[in-house]
Symmetry: D2
Subunit: 312 residues, 4 copies
């Protein structure tokens, strides 16, 4: 495959490369009872998150229910977060759409709205045709036009496809693609991605708290974790233990986080994340339809998954 971009650009990219290391909550989007955006509650959450040593925030990862927001809403939420966010914190904005042209346009709007970096999910509707060739073309076009660095985003539980390893390796050479959020959790794959992209200073972020410690172990530099909306300080503690090599203490903490994390992701999803946020002093509230509130049995299950690990 031909390399489209200039080598001069590439070699220049190294020194100034945006440093992604750290923990990011992919923030939930609060709605009113009538399912409209609730900006005051969003800002209260942001105010509380400012007390936690996050590296930054992800706005409109999957947990932000971005597929349920209009393009205008997506941009407006980013603007709102930008106004509240201290300048030393990164704002990573999800700008992925199904078509390349829509993704390019939204990425530019996100940059204009204040995003430091764009998180671009794999398009997935025609999954039978989304092979490496198509995905590489897509991400190159987006990265070529993006005013801010691009982070790739692979989340097979939602999209039904994984960004293939050879595509990641190829794309890691693009000067404007600086990392990957991998939510699939295949630790062998994550280790291999780190290995095969080490010449590019490519930065891998664990996409879930369940395998955060293991990801650090094999070379990831941080995590974008739904659970950080709820137990943000604890995830920053886990980061610190991993980075400082306190693996035994890290293991104890990591193990207590797996069940709560699974509950708010794979098992019960965004409605559970928002419910747990309420228990821990944040505004979660309802989801937009068709996401339904938890049933009573699901709520009890969620509570058990936190309480049996000593968090409630």
């Amino acid at each position: 495959i031909t390399v489209w971009w200039s080598r001069a650009w590439s070699s220049a990219a190294g020194p100034g490369r945006l440093d992604l290391r750290g923990i990011y909550p992919p923030i939930a989007t609060p709605f009113t009872a009538s399912e409209d955006l609730d900006y005051p509650k969003l800002e209260e959450n942001l105010h509380k998150y400012a007390q936690i040593p996050f590296k930054g925030l992800v706005v409109q990862g999957s947990n932000g229910e971005y597929p349920y927001l209009s393009e205008e809403e997506r941009v407006e939420v980013v603007k709102t977060v930008r106004r509240s966010l201290p300048t030393d914190k990164l704002l990573m904005a999800g700008s992925g759409c199904e078509s390349t042209r829509a993704t390019m346009k939204l990425t530019e709007r996100m940059a204009a709205a204040g995003a430091d970096t764009a998180l671009v999910v794999t398009p997935c509707f025609f999954k039978g045709r989304m092979d490496s060739r198509a995905l590489i073309q897509h991400f190159i076009k987006v990265a070529d036009c993006s005013p801010v660095p691009v982070v790739l985003y692979s989340v097979p539980a939602n999209t039904g496809l994984e960004l293939p390893l050879d595509a990641v390796v190829q794309l890691s050479q693009h000067p404007n693609i600086i990392g990957l959020k991998d939510s699939g959790g295949d630790i062998t794959r994550i280790g291999l991605i780190v290995h095969k992209t080490q010449a590019q200073d490519f930065q891998v972020l664990a996409g879930s708290a369940g395998f955060l410690m293991a990801a650090y172990c094999v070379g990831a530099v941080g995590g974008v974790c739904a659970l950080a909306n709820v137990l943000g300080q604890e995830l920053c503690d886990l980061e610190r233990l991993c980075v400082s090599g306190c693996w035994k203490e890290a293991r104890v903490l990591q193990q207590r986080l797996i069940e709560p994390n699974t509950a708010v992701t794979r098992k019960l999803g965004v409605p559970a994340l928002k419910q747990a946020m309420e228990w821990f002093g944040f505004h979660g509230g309802a989801c937009r339809s068709p996401l339904q509130p938890l049933t009573e049995a699901e709520t009890q299950q969620l509570r058990r998954d936190f309480s049996s690990n000593g968090w409630l």
Copy 2:
């Protein structure tokens, strides 16, 4: 589950129920070289389709690349088709979005643009939470507000989920939900859906030409078939043979259609459909990115799948 709508409405719905019987091409969307909508080419295709005894057209099924069109474009294409379409042909317009609120709004716009019926795909991004409860709520809300009858749309190859049978049966009782386009191709399921919805005069359409004859055999009333963009008359012939009980002739024709159909759907997708359209005198053209043109090897495979069955 409670039934939300009025029984009076339900009993009144029977007599005037829209008759869906027949064959529909889910029309492809032509683009210019710069990926803009090419309305003149669309109209030339429509002019040619008018010579074929279709029951109507599906605008913005998956083959129309609807996830790559903006909302404005989706509505504009429907208006364009409506202007060209004889009044005795049905216009079935795809109006599904991820959120219920967006789907409701787009369905209303599609009706205003001239759609006779709305084809509503299952939302799928948070597939782990799209159980029967969520999907039933979604479709009921859409059907409650839709000015035109709703046809459910299950297409697991693209969405990664199948509308569960119990949800179909429950939704078939809604007076404004009149049928299902099933693209999954599980003939046992299709037979069972016909069986369990027979009291509701619920109309099942085969979502692909590969199992069209078998679907008629177990009680489907028609088909929405990508291949009808290419071999439309032949699919109408197959319909006639099935409806008139000429099963032996039908079988011969059906068998010759399987490989071409698989080629333009599961195997090579929309780019192949558009390429084959070119060979048969229609305007296909390119797809929007990230869909890529066929490789040379894929084009040869496609040609073989048509020629080895006597179509080229």
Copy 3:
């Protein structure tokens, strides 16, 4: 791929080819309370099956729990059935093992024990390596040495793999391979197999009652149906309606059989088949461990699936 066998043999094979047309129950294997083979109960079942116009019996399809029988038991059961079976009924004996050498040996023993034809399942343990190349080699070696004609057997629900279409087409040219039992139920695939093997007079059997009518519709010649252990006469009635072109009556009957069939196969499996056999006057009894008896809730579900369709 080279064709290994002699063309002379091949051309000679046509006239005398074993005729598989008709319905076969893949008979269940009765056990005593201590999980030993219960030959008297087996013979009582055989006596009752003799009253039903089956084409023959399948001994040690999946429903016979063959993976739980020793090689000696597998052969002994075939001998027992052969002694009871009228000479005008076919005995199709499952002889598939994981290794080619074991399959070859068992196929020879089955023929010696009185099998008219051998049903050979795809080996599946190393599923990542069971591509067409490996499977074609396997079946050719078995067919080359088998004293009786071989029927291929694809059952993805149990094996996790489907015998690829290109392998079926290639193998259909072997003079000692006369057909396929396809339990996957993909009716598009079944139609295409019939189409691409028509020059070989290759005989396709539906592997489940749920898609029996549709399979006849696209060109299958019979069915091996678990449900025939319970509703054997009804399945023979369905066969007669399909073969004689009474599609409307066939459809009514087929639809009533889908839920009972799904219950004793995909949904609740062999324990449900054996429970239903008890209700209909046959000996089912327990399964060998690790198969567990139905729970009370499962038994009620099973009863509903029969009674709601008018069978109980």
Copy 4:
């Protein structure tokens, strides 16, 4: 779920529990050109493995092609290994069969043949019925009768099912079940299993070299790794680095092992493992049919996966 065994037994089990910590090659089974067992070559391999600081050997894990061996052969291979193996090395023998009764019998034979512990794979043929209830019953019956401790074995790539977490936790309380070989590689699950079984001193072994370091990181105590047949010393080095907390050095080594490991497991399987063994001075040889030798292209791929990581 009731606990069937005596608490007295359970409490007594702790002190004498067999210590599984360390690295085990699941040894390949050499065959002659005619596919017979080649005991002299097996013994030469064993002689070489004796130079490597393995904790022991696994005889008849999947890489031993156990589904292709007769019961007699399986036992005979274990006897042969036992004769060669120093008494301070553990012999873990695969004794899983599809039926509980066959597994119980073979486990007893393996113990008599000299196995220190039995590795019991999940039965899998009727995968739709192999829920926690069935699997728990199966393993309890086997563990109750086994003269040696039992290690559970979950290998979804071959069996198509994963031993559910709740079943593992329940079974970890059985005094004669001492650990799990987990080949699925879901590091979140492995961490959670360690967490939820810590009161039982349950020992988890990574089932593949690709995630060995990550597994140590979250609490595993060793690994059964196909690649140890080829790069045994290197895997023992990796173990030492992990156990002694040299995570940076461990990471470098781990990363170089991922591609060779994937090549001899998921990507190219046992034939590749045996080919690589030849390159590294061991006897691999052919596999039993239906496993086919590598194609020329596959062999080149395999070589690249070793050479690009500096091993060839």
